[in-house]
């Protein structure tokens, strides 16, 4: 078996760069930090590609099955004799696939930012945080056990926090970063309790034992514990809550649109391609446990995913901010992936949904990163996020235009671009499993095509605005990543995923199901067609349509008031209803009781302290009068 211990370098290089640029970046010219980060990521990406080629193509399956290799493992913290957190590297199909995704997109974001962030205050800091994020994300995907994953899970959370709040003097950025951290932290509470339950029941944190069909998780699943579900089911549902928080699933999605306050390359890297799919990765990691012992938990995954995908697509229809459209689109596409996992079975062709989910994760990373970086290039040119400030940009930004169009066609699912293949597998898997979910997925495909082309036409066609400065195409350092990702978006659909990433590690043959493919292409074309009619040339149709379904339109525009509900719960209930009363109670009841005790002592003593005045005359007077009194008493007593 090949030795993979060199893969330790893949996370360690970004870590080193983070420490170097973080501690001493301010002493050098900022560009050095940028170059150091980019070079480090280039090395990490190179090593990842080598690993992928060796793992999938040179070594290949052993006895018809891809091996799960622990390249490195060392005890980091011991809880009990059997429960200990290890730090290690797990090499298996999904981790290798994620290595490629993370390092590729991260490298593109690094290169792109050399141009996009040029001249920003805190350029060095930006690169230092990017390296921190890359390290954490790589540690997450390579984790050998669930607790290691939780550790890096928190670290990507904090990197995301730091990068969303990169413009820390801007109150909206600070609020967004805080929101992202706290909402995901809340979800992580579920994750943590899930880990506690799972580890107590199975006595292990290790992924290989947890997912092995003879392992403790799957063997000991029998019996119900609470509300008709087994302990394992509850644990896996709670763990999924953690994943839903990170992956912005309804109703924990509210942080994602706000996270767009971060610099655009960050949105591309963290909030489109890598960190937000961590939840999908987590479910995929534990997939055998879900599929074999907790079908109920898997139903939850499927429905949350399906609903989120529809919900986000409806909101994306009306948003004005181009980054927010893309954010909701991301949420919708991740919902797709979750749904695919949820409808998947285990093993062979049954595991089609699993394969499709991973496939879509891969292709989505490429085309969504491309969309975000393209959006960054547009924002760079017109200095606005709002599509109302854009129009007719195709003449000014030719490369951005073409690559953006490719990405739109890809996400809409037009063959032979990559999005078509992966989305098709998802719909096929859904059709086999649950017609309702299939219908949702099918409808979302049409909505996706529509809102993406609404975005596309509003930016590149429509009104030709009067710009203060003539917009001009971004420099090569920004367009090269666009072109690279466009190529990836076009061709990554031809990767033989069913031979590489499968639920039971065994390759199988997947075929394109024409009964699904043809209708899905047709509905995508219909979506594009409607968008073309409405937005290609300026006309009043969109406004008339909006006013004819005013309620729905407003609901979508206001994002179904979920933010307001959260505001109410946190501000009115938790702040005003819990925290303030507790603070008041502490001062005015508990502390007052303590002061009362003190007061009683002081008052009592002041009442009786007159006996100890220190005045000799008084003492003498008391003494003499007492003696006289006593003498009188004695005389009285003894005289009888």
């Amino acid at each position: 078996m090949t030795n993979y211990s060199y893969t330790l370098l893949i996370p360690l290089i970004p870590l080193t760069i983070f420490l170097l640029t973080g501690l001493s970046g301010h002493r050098f010219k900022p560009i050095y930090s940028g170059l150091a980060g980019t070079m480090g990521l280039t090395m990490a990406a190179f090593l990842s590609y080598i690993t992928a080629i060796r793992y999938f193509f040179i070594d290949g399956p052993v006895n018809g099955m891809y091996p799960q290799i622990k390249a490195i493992s060392t005890v980091w913290l011991r809880f009990t004799d059997t429960l200990h957190i290890d730090m290690g590297i797990l090499i298996d199909p999904i981790s290798v696939m994620m290595l490629v995704v993370v390092t590729t997109v991260s490298l593109m974001a690094h290169i792109y930012s050399l141009g996009y962030m040029k001249g920003e205050r805190g350029f060095a800091r930006f690169y230092s945080f990017l390296s921190l994020f890359s390290f954490s994300m790589l540690g997450l995907v390579l984790a050998t056990n669930i607790f290691q994953m939780y550790i890096f899970w928190e670290l990507v959370g904090v990197s995301s926090f730091l990068l969303i709040g990169f413009y820390y003097e801007k109150p909206s950025a600070v609020a967004a970063s805080k929101k992202a951290f706290i909402v995901t932290r809340f979800a992580d509470l579920g994750f943590l309790i899930g880990i506690l339950m799972l580890s107590f029941t199975t006595d292990t944190f290790d992924f290989i034992s947890l997912t092995s069909s003879t392992g403790p998780a799957i063997a000991s699943s029998a019996g119900t514990a609470f509300m008709g579900l087994s302990v394992i089911s509850w644990a896996l549902i709670l763990i999924f809550i953690g994943g839903a928080g990170k992956s912005a699933m309804f109703p924990l999605h509210i942080w994602l649109p706000d996270a767009m306050e971060g610099p655009t390359p960050v949105s591309a890297l963290i909030h489109a391609a890598t960190m937000v799919v961590a939840g999908v990765y987590l479910v995929a990691r534990l997939f055998p446990a879900y599929a074999l012992t907790a079908p109920d938990a898997l139903h939850v995954v499927a429905w949350v995913g399906g609903f989120s995908s529809l919900f986000a697509a409806v909101i994306a229809l009306t948003q004005i901010d181009i980054k927010r459209v893309l954010a909701f689109s991301t949420m919708s596409q991740i919902g797709y992936m979750m749904m695919a996992l949820g409808v998947s079975g285990y093993g062979d062709h049954e595991g089609l949904g699993y394969m499709a989910s991973m496939f879509h994760l891969f292709t989505h990373a490429m085309f969504k990163a491309l969309l975000f970086l393209g959006a960054g290039s547009i924002i760079h040119a017109v200095h606005s996020n709002n599509m109302t400030d854009m129009g007719g940009l195709r003449k000014y930004l030719p490369i951005t235009h073409i690559t953006f169009l490719i990405a739109c066609l890809t996400i809409a699912g037009i063959p032979p671009l990559s999005g078509f293949w992966s989305k098709d597998e998802i719909l096929a898997a859904a059709l086999h499993h649950n017609p309702v979910l299939f219908a949702i997925g099918f409808g979302v495909a049409g909505l996706t095509a529509f809102y993406m082309f609404r975005l596309y036409y509003n930016i590149f066609w429509g009104h030709d605005r009067h710009y203060h400065h003539t917009p001009h195409e971004s420099p090569l350092v920004m367009t090269i990543p666009l072109m690279f990702l466009a190529l990836a978006a076009i061709f990554s659909g031809f990767l033989p995923f069913s031979h590489m990433v499968t639920s039971d590690l065994k390759p199988f043959e997947a075929h394109t199901d024409l009964a699904v493919a043809i209708p899905s292409v047709l509905i995508a074309l219909a979506g594009i067609g409607v968008a073309t009619v409405m937005y290609r040339k300026p006309n009043t149709l969109p406004d008339r349509l909006a006013s004819s379904i005013k309620v729905l339109y407003t609901a979508s525009l206001r994002k179904f008031w979920i933010d307001e509900i959260y505001q109410f719960v946190t501000k009115k209930i938790l702040f005003a209803g819990v925290s303030r009363p507790i603070a008041w109670f502490d001062r005015h009841v508990i502390d007052a009781t303590m002061n009362l005790v003190g007061w009683v002592v002081v008052t009592t003593s002041s009442k009786i302290k007159g006996f100890q005045s220190g005045q000799v005359q008084q003492y003498a007077a008391v003494f003499i009068s007492s003696v006289i009194l006593l003498v009188l008493v004695f005389v009285y007593l003894f005289s009888n």
Binding site: L155, G165, G598
Partner: protein, 500 residues
């Protein structure tokens, strides 16, 4: 002289040397040198302790020394350390060292200030090395008394009130402890031969009658619990900390509050496990309340020191919570949490003092955007905050996770529910930490006078970095610490399990 007694002797010698100091400069340097030696000695102790263990020395107490003090009452001066006390000694010397540098600018009665501070430290060291309950209590009082002077003289705001409140409440705790200790002493001979002892190990071996335990366990636990900010006896903490000068807050929250947790474990749980087992549920409820209540209380505070004081109530509540779980993992977590919280909270108070020294306010609403103006202090504050909310890679995570996993080893519903309740604090903690960071450090600068502030100078950097390095070291490589503590906990827990 044995190495452990040096921990008491060095501070005393330093204090005597300070008496001869002529000016502030000399006072500072004598204190710093003394505490540097102390820090070096602590490092030496850690290494020689680990060395002994590696050489295969399995005796529970190492570096022991014993001499009779009052033979009529069988009082000894007995010292010795196991992994737990070694860890606590290391914590204390780090915090004291950082505290000296944090009060570098103490100009008012500086000699007296440093003398009181270092006397306090010597009491703490004495407490951690003592194996005799009488000397342990003696050192405890030595540590608590200077606190009154330190707050009453060098404090700010309603300092007399706060000093009095703090001292009286802690004295109330002391009274309970003293009764408890005497109760233990007079029940330490089950044979009835009146051959009483104060020695911790002898008492543990002989065992205390269960009836006596039932009476004296709650007293001792509560007595130490007051110092460990056990709800509802925690209110000395916000007022006391708010009035105390920087180094005193650091030492008090960083080290002195740990005396509570340590004592509760060493005396109350270790000597009276049956009663502890019976009555634990009452205190578990109180501590679980402390954890959540402190965190929620911190959310709406406006004064930086109050925020940190309530945060301490929450974190120290977790220490006592874990101790009451009485299994090895949770107890290990409790010790790591004591160390982690000690370092973290000392760092917080140091930073608050430094910020206050610049802006002359501790109200977060009057500050804003400080990150841009004082980036060093800002970054350290953020890292301290991240440690406090349990970010992996910093010490808080290690401690909290060990406690939660340990507490979850109990299979009954009661323990499950309180454990889950305690875990919710990780979210609430994130809320109040990020709130402070958001208002204080980020956003636009609110007060234009703050534009002229200068960033940390060398002693401030030294003070904060010492603590920060320790926090990161534990967070990144926790195994040696956790194994060191585990080794000593194992026989203790085995004995407890055997008795129950």
């Amino acid at each position: 002289m044995d190495i452990l007694s040096l921990f008491v002797v060095i501070p005393v010698v330093t204090v005597i040397a300070i008496m001869f100091a002529k000016n502030l400069e000399q006072t500072r340097w004598i204190s710093a040198t003394g505490m540097l030696i102390q820090l070096g000695l602590a490092a030496f102790l850690v290494f020689s302790y680990l060395h002994e263990r590696n050489m295969g020395n399995t005796a529970h107490w190492l570096f022991t020394y014993d001499t009779v003090w009052f033979s009529s009452l069988n009082i000894h001066y007995t010292v010795g350390v196991d992994g737990i006390s070694v860890a606590m000694i290391a914590l204390t010397s780090i915090v004291v060292f950082a505290g000296i540098f944090a009060s570098w600018e103490m100009k008012y009665l500086s000699r007296e200030f440093f003398i009181s501070l270092i006397m306090l430290a010597s009491g703490v060291f004495g407490f951690f090395i003592s194996l005799d309950l009488f000397t342990m209590f003696l050192f405890y009082e030595v540590a608590v008394i200077p606190m009154y002077l330190l707050i009453g003289i060098w404090g700010s705001g309603p300092k007399e009130y706060s000093a009095m409140k703090l001292t009286l409440m802690l004295m109330g705790g002391s009274a309970l402890i003293m009764v408890g200790l005497l109760g233990i002493y007079f029940n330490s001979d089950p044979t009835g031969a009146m051959n009483f002892t104060f020695n911790l190990n002898e008492i543990a071996e002989r065992g205390i009658p269960i009836e006596a335990q039932r009476f004296f366990f709650p007293m001792t636990f509560l007595g130490f619990g007051v110092l460990g900010a056990l709800f509802p006896f925690h209110t000395w903490s916000p007022d006391g900390h708010a009035s105390a000068p920087t180094a005193v807050s650091m030492l008090h929250a960083g080290v002195l509050m740990k005396l509570g947790g340590y004592g509760a474990f060493r005396v109350a749980i270790y000597l009276m496990p049956q009663a502890a087992h019976e009555q634990a549920w009452i205190f578990i409820i109180l501590t679980a309340v402390s954890v959540v209540y402190g965190a929620f209380g911190a959310i709406v505070q406006k004064d930086l020191k109050y925020i940190n004081a309530y945060s301490s109530v929450s974190h120290c509540g977790l220490v006592l919570f874990a101790i009451l779980m009485m299994n090895q993992t949770a107890l290990n977590g409790a010790v790591i949490q004591m160390i982690s919280h000690g370092l973290m909270t000392a760092l917080f108070f140091a930073l608050i003092g430094m910020i206050y020294g610049r802006t002359h306010t501790r109200l977060i609403n009057e500050m804003g955007g400080l990150m841009k103006i004082i980036p060093f202090l800002g970054v350290v504050y953020v890292i301290a905050g991240l440690a406090s909310l349990g970010l992996p890679g910093l010490s808080g995570f290690v401690a909290e996770m060990t406690i939660f996993v340990g507490a979850y080893q109990h299979t009954d519903t009661f323990h499950r529910v309180v454990t889950i309740m305690a875990t919710t604090s990780i979210v609430v903690t994130a809320v109040y930490i990020l709130r402070v960071v958001g208002i204080l450090l980020l956003g636009p600068v609110r007060n234009e006078h703050h534009f002229s502030l200068t960033d940390a100078v060398w002693w401030e950097r030294l003070s904060t970095l010492t603590l920060l390095v320790a926090i990161a070291a534990i967070g990144i490589a926790p195994l040696w610490l956790s194994d060191m503590i585990n080794f000593s906990l194992k026989p203790i827990v085995e004995r407890i399990v055997a008795i129950l």
